[in-house]
């Protein structure tokens, strides 16, 4: 199932590409908007990268289950004997591989372009590694809930963004800690703890959402 999703997204690469382009473009708007002063940019860089990555990861969520829901594939998957939580987990993994990982690869160059010091970048990327996985899990849960809703696309950010606010806070704090000469360990461990809690719980919630959508 994961393989099917990956193949689909490889053949139709536009979703991944759109998210990536959105990320790079919004990030490059900031120097234009707040001026190219290096020290201001370097101070804001972790926040800019995080917020842009978060919004870019929201883009493909709208279609995460949409196509499968409309053509009946989702019903088939749920009838195939797979536990719904498994289906949900695979979808989240698929979203992470097609959106989270490309964003992660693009985040490094973008951060450097924004004038971030090179030694801050590893902490930022480590935070993003955990953070994009969390985003995929929460996003998948939200997407399963709004399946078939009127104005689901508008509703989705309203549901997902409050839930990922802690992820954003700790992720930016990790990068800021390195920038001010402290260890990012505590913040990264908190992110990892969030991920450990979300890893079993979000697929359960998402599975329940899928089942009620298919009813």
């Amino acid at each position: 199932m994961l393989r099917r999703d990956l193949r689909l997204s490889l053949r139709h690469g536009s979703d991944t590409l759109a998210a990536l382009l959105f990320f790079v473009l919004t990030a490059s708007l900031f120097p234009l908007a707040i001026g190219p002063a290096p020290e201001t940019l370097a101070r804001l860089a972790p926040g800019i990268v995080w917020v842009c990555a978060l919004l870019a990861a929201l883009l493909p969520l709208d279609r995460l289950f949409g196509a499968d829901f409309e053509d009946g594939t989702l019903d088939q998957l749920l009838l195939s004997g797979q536990p719904p939580a498994m289906v949900a987990a695979m979808k989240a993994l698929g979203h992470w591989l097609t959106t989270g990982v490309p964003l992660l690869l693009a985040a490094g160059p973008v951060a450097l372009m924004l004038g971030m010091q090179a030694e801050v970048v590893p902490a930022l990327l480590a935070g993003l590694l955990l953070g994009t996985a969390l985003l995929s899990l929460f996003g998948m849960t939200g997407a399963s809930l709004v399946l078939g809703a009127r104005r689901g696309g508008v509703l989705l950010p309203l549901l997902v963004l409050p839930l990922v606010a802690p992820v954003l806070i700790f992720g930016v704090a990790a990068a800021d800690a390195v920038a001010s000469g402290q260890s990012p360990r505590a913040h990264l461990l908190l992110l990892a703890a969030l991920l450990a809690a979300a890893l079993p719980l979000c697929p359960l919630a998402g599975g329940a959402g899928l089942r009620s959508a298919a009813e």
Partner: protein, 257 residues
Amino acid sequence: MSNTNTFGPAGLNLHRFANPGRFLRLSGAVLPWLAVSGVVITAIGLGWGLFLAPADWQQGDAVRIMYVHVPAAWLASLGYVMLACASLASLVWRHPLADLAAAEIGPVGAGITAICLATGSLWGKPMWGAWWVWDARMTSVLVLFFLYLGHIALVRAFDDQQRGYRAAAILALVGVVNLPIIKFSVEWWNTLHQPASITLSGAPSMAPALLWPLLVSAIGFNLGFAAVVVARLRAAVMERRIRALLLARARNDLQNA
């Protein structure tokens, strides 16, 4: 309602509204008492707090905002607990009354959270010199407010009402993680917001002259909240019943025609 075709109108009514019927009778008897006692006790608590209680030696008269802010804040969290309990009941037992309760608690809880945020902002301006500070307590209460809004929007976003109840219930349960964050935010992080003055264990770090009106007004707020929720719930049950009756009549008309 997918089972309208399998049950006749009478069977549908009995099946779905047997329990809500009892709820209507019971709540009809309790509601006037709740409403009157809520209004009276809130009035006593607020009157006591705003006019009779002494001003704080440090904060002066501004401390009186507390008599609205603190009960509203407690109630905002308590309302979410009730919402989560109703959601759990609706997911586990598929109880129609729990569905309605969750849908009706949402807007009231959002309103009280908005009151909490607004009064907190009014209190922050003279005390901290700023309307809003991004500290952990305020940010987490703001997230709570957005969770309420998301719940309200999600419940009403579906053509199939049952689907809305399910999805919103799952969202409410996922959002429960925010509650301990709100509770402990003032202890885990060094925040501008003061830590709790009143705990279950240990004596309150607050003068009794200030404490009593606060407790009275909190009880009044709780009763008022309960009264509003019960009234909304009664209205929702009756609305459903009217719709079911109209459907039954339309079906009878069709059969007779």
